[in-house]
Amino acid sequence: MKKFDKERVLLAVAGPVIALVLAIALTSIVLLASNRNPFEPYVLMLQQLPYSDIQVLIINQAAMYYIAAIAVALGFRMNLFNIGVDGQYRLAAVMTAVVGANVGLPAFLQIPMLLLVAMLTGAFWAGIAGVLKVTRGVSEVVATIMLNAIATSVIGYITLANVWGVQVGNNMTTGVMKKSGWFPGINLGSDVGEIYGMVFVAIALGIGYWVVLNRTRFGFDLRATGASESAAAASGVDAKRMVLVSMLISGAVSGLAGLPLLLGDSHTYSLDFPAGLGFTAIGIALLGRNNPGGIAFAALLWAFLDKASPALDYATPVAYEKEIATIMQGLIVFSVVISYEAVRQWGLRRQQRQVGAELAAAAAQNTKKEVAA
């Protein structure tokens, strides 16, 4: 039944494409409404794309988005809304930075150890929400939002000067990490920049995500729970265990989200460490339909909007506000939700009709044969 496979690909692509077209159209309307040229900003942003240094920035940024979005997607696949990725990755980054600044092992031990620290911290923080959900029935949405706020306070405490903080100028940092814990990247020259080594870890995570979900018993249980909790329970999935395990895995993955920057570039956790990654990742996971390929595309698109938009401020003869990109990102999330649901329902109905038609055709043929015989 190759035909139905092709159908599925078509349906999978139709949602994002419609969403993007809709988002661009809406952005143009916003531009028109504010008396600006409705198309020039896109051209200006696309003109940034050929520059190698912009490309490196996009790839590096996308890697962080990608890891965080995979963490969100893991939850989504079983109807868990892990809004706490934001707190999990920041807390994990700060713990990793502290350990990296105070423990010095050889690189081949130091880097795996730091990755492990990040994953354990993330898993621990997400695990709190998981335990609350399975034992007390607390919604993971509420629990993780609160844990985000708590994480901010915990980070504030950790970076106090009399705890682990180190003052550098006006900035509070956690001190520079030992060199053995710097993740080697690909240096493309001083005017281009360096691609983080963690980019490859991100790719590996994406592959691992796909394999685990689609090729293992555990992945099947997880997807079944997401598709129908009651059917999964009747089929023998222990729902509570499943909630806890997926929360832990999601947290472990989100723990890695801050590391491309931390291990590849900043080598310390400071006040200007990016925040909000976890929320952006929710939109990216949505746009990518929780599919590793789709998320990669969405992460790159998001990173492109981030990194190409500053050029709008300096455009000649007319400058545009770079916030246009932010408006666009918001509109993408908005149209994604609408277009996916519409495409899903349309697809289901369409397939029902097709199956009906094929069966009717087959039945008609059979009766004809009977008549002939």
Binding site: M1, F4, D5, R8, V134, G137, N214, R215, T216, R217, F218, G219, F220, D221, R223, A224, A227, S228, E229, S230, A231, A233, A234, S235, G236, V237, D238, A239, K240, V243, L348, Q351, Q352, Q354, V355, G356, E358, L359, A362
Partner: protein
């Protein structure tokens, strides 16, 4: 009184929706009293004197009968004394026995149905459409309903009656139209037709009966249940699974006397109610034990306890000599418990997943679906093709979603899946509910086949003919207790029905035949059948 019969998906409901203005026809015309009409909404249909009683009642539970009846048609007779007078008048005229000030939530199913009928009459309907009105009633209630309908008929109203219970149709209708695959395939006059002829007209071929040929019951116990008890609200369902909370209100309303009924147990506050009360039984290899009962009398809890989705509060379950009371669902399934769930959409299928993934569901750890930790996708797909072939699942392929199959084919897929793992004990809850006659026969055949090879089956069904025809032993569940047992060889649906309402208990004997003298019911009965 005109009856419309046909298999599931034959187009009955579509036709009725068109008649009631809920859907527009692509072609063709409708004439009322010789005058051609077209409806664009149910309001038009009501204005023309057509009323519909839906299969699922459209009543507001927390309003009184009077309020429900006037709701939406306040302009007709107001909402006060006038409306009350009108309701009393209609109720008396057709013998409906309606009490206008009772809350609907306190009414049994049969009473609610009468309220629905009254609602329609109140709006001035001259033609009533009843969509499967007997599906939710026990035989006694069905008789009462038919009396009401005859009353209506004698007053000059017309009734269109949709059903696929052929015996009922023949007993009550004046005229029958059979439809199949969207077209009228025949008409019949009840007095000259047998249910069999009618069914054959419906399916378009010969059909079998659910009669087990010879007993295959052995004395090897497969499942032994001892003193199983479940309290309401026990076994806390924290992860959002709200078991379909059933209509306990049917209890006691045996239909004949609508004035003197309803609801004593269900609203008793205070002590936790036992939804399953000290249930014990044994099922042997090769035995089908049928459980009859009005829905919501503990069947769901019994199934949950047996499959392990909600553990019982006390009691023990033994399976092939092992105590499995504390086992998880997965372990039970792996060791040979098959499960045909009562609600296939909620519990049996992943509707938006392809058929082959649905084939894996429930057996993800077993061959051919898995090799160790990994899924064996090729194996699962190949085996899905085999099931599709062997169990005659009508589908263009195994990559289509389960949602795109018809109900009967979905059910065949589930039966195929469960039978493919050589279960030793099968929990079959309504295995042929919503399934057309053709598929029904195939499913019965499969169960009988497996029974011959030593399968123990717990059959829970609302279809009394199915229960009587397929079971070796029959038990009646009422209010969480197994209150009666019966010999399926001699019992009639009516006798079973009266036990289901709690009117009879103990060992049920068919009154016309010589008593056979079985006492302890759990044993393997009547070898000779």
């Amino acid at each position: 009184m005109h009856a419309l019969v046909g298999e599931n998906g034959a187009g009955k409901s579509t036709l009725m929706k068109i008649l009631y203005g809920m859907q527009k026809p692509d072609e063709g015309t409708i004439a009322i009293d010789g005058e051609q009409v077209s409806f664009s909404s149910p309001a038009d249909a009501i204005a023309r004197g057509i009323g519909m009683v839906h299969q699922h009642f459209m009543l507001a539970d927390n309003l009184t009968v009077l309020e429900n009846v006037v709701l939406g048609s306040e302009k007709l007779y107001g909402i006060g004394g006038n409306a009350r007078k009108k309701i009393a008048e209609i109720s008396d005229r057709y013998g409906l026995g309606i009490r206008p000030d009772v809350l609907v939530e306190d009414l049994g199913v049969a009473d609610r149905q009468r309220v629905e009928i009254l609602k329609v009459l109140f709006r001035g309907a001259k033609t009533l459409i009843l969509d499967e009105p007997t599906a939710v009633l026990v035989p006694q209630e069905v008789d009462a309903l038919f009396d009401n309908l005859r009353e209506l008929k004698s007053e000059g109203l017309s009734v269109i009656f949709i059903s696929h219970k052929l015996g009922e149709v023949l007993s009550v209708a004046d005229d029958i139209t059979v439809i199949r695959r969207g077209t009228t395939v025949g008409t019949a006059i009840p007095s000259e037709t047998t249910p069999r002829q009618l069914a054959e007209l419906m399916v378009g071929s010969e059909l079998p009966t659910p009669e087990t040929a010879e007993s295959t019951v052995t004395d090897k116990p497969v499942v032994t249940v001892k003193n199983l008890t479940v309290y309401a609200g026990g076994g806390i369902a924290s992860l959002g699974e709200v078991g379909a909370q059933p209509e306990t209100a049917t209890v006691g309303s045996s239909g004949a006397a609508p004035g003197a009924d309803v609801l004593t147990e269900a609203t008793t506050p205070g002590a936790a109610k036992r939804v399953l009360d000290d249930v014990s039984f044994t099922i042997h290899a090769g035995e089908v034990m049928g459980i009859a009962g009005v829905e919501g009398n503990g069947q769901t809890e019994l199934i949950d306890a047996l499959i392990g989705t909600k553990h019982a509060d006390s009691g023990a379950i033994e399976f092939l000599g092992e105590d499995i009371t504390g086992w998880q669902t997965r372990k039970r399934r792996e060791s040979g418990v098959g499960y045909i769930p009562e609600d296939r959409h909620r519990q049996g299928l992943l509707l938006e997943s392809p058929l082959w993934e649905n084939r894996i569901l429930g057996h993800v750890t077993e061959k051919p679906n898995a090799k160790g930790f990994w899924l064996d996708i090729k194996g699962a797909q190949a085996d899905t093709r085999r099931i599709v072939e062997e169990f005659d699942v009508r589908t263009p392929g195994i990559d289509v979603t389960a949602a795109s199959l018809s109900g009967g084919n979905q059910q065949k897929l589930i039966v195929g899946r469960e039978m493919s793992h050589n279960p030793k004990f099968l929990i079959a809850a309504h295995p042929t509910r919503g399934v057309d006659v053709g598929a029904q026969a195939q499913i019965w055949d499969r169960i009988r086949e497996a029974r011959r090879e030593g399968l123990a089956v717990l059959l829970i069904s609302a279809d009394l003919d199915e229960l009587i025809g397929l079971s070796d032993t029959l038990r009646v569940i009422y209010d969480g207790k197994l209150v009666a047992d019966a010999d399926p060889a001699t019992i009639t649906p009516e006798e079973l029905g009266s036990a289901m309402t709690g009117a009879a208990s103990g060992h049920l004997e068919h009154v016309d035949t010589a008593p056979e003298g079985h006492e302890g019911a759990a044993g393997p009965e009547d070898e000779a059948r």
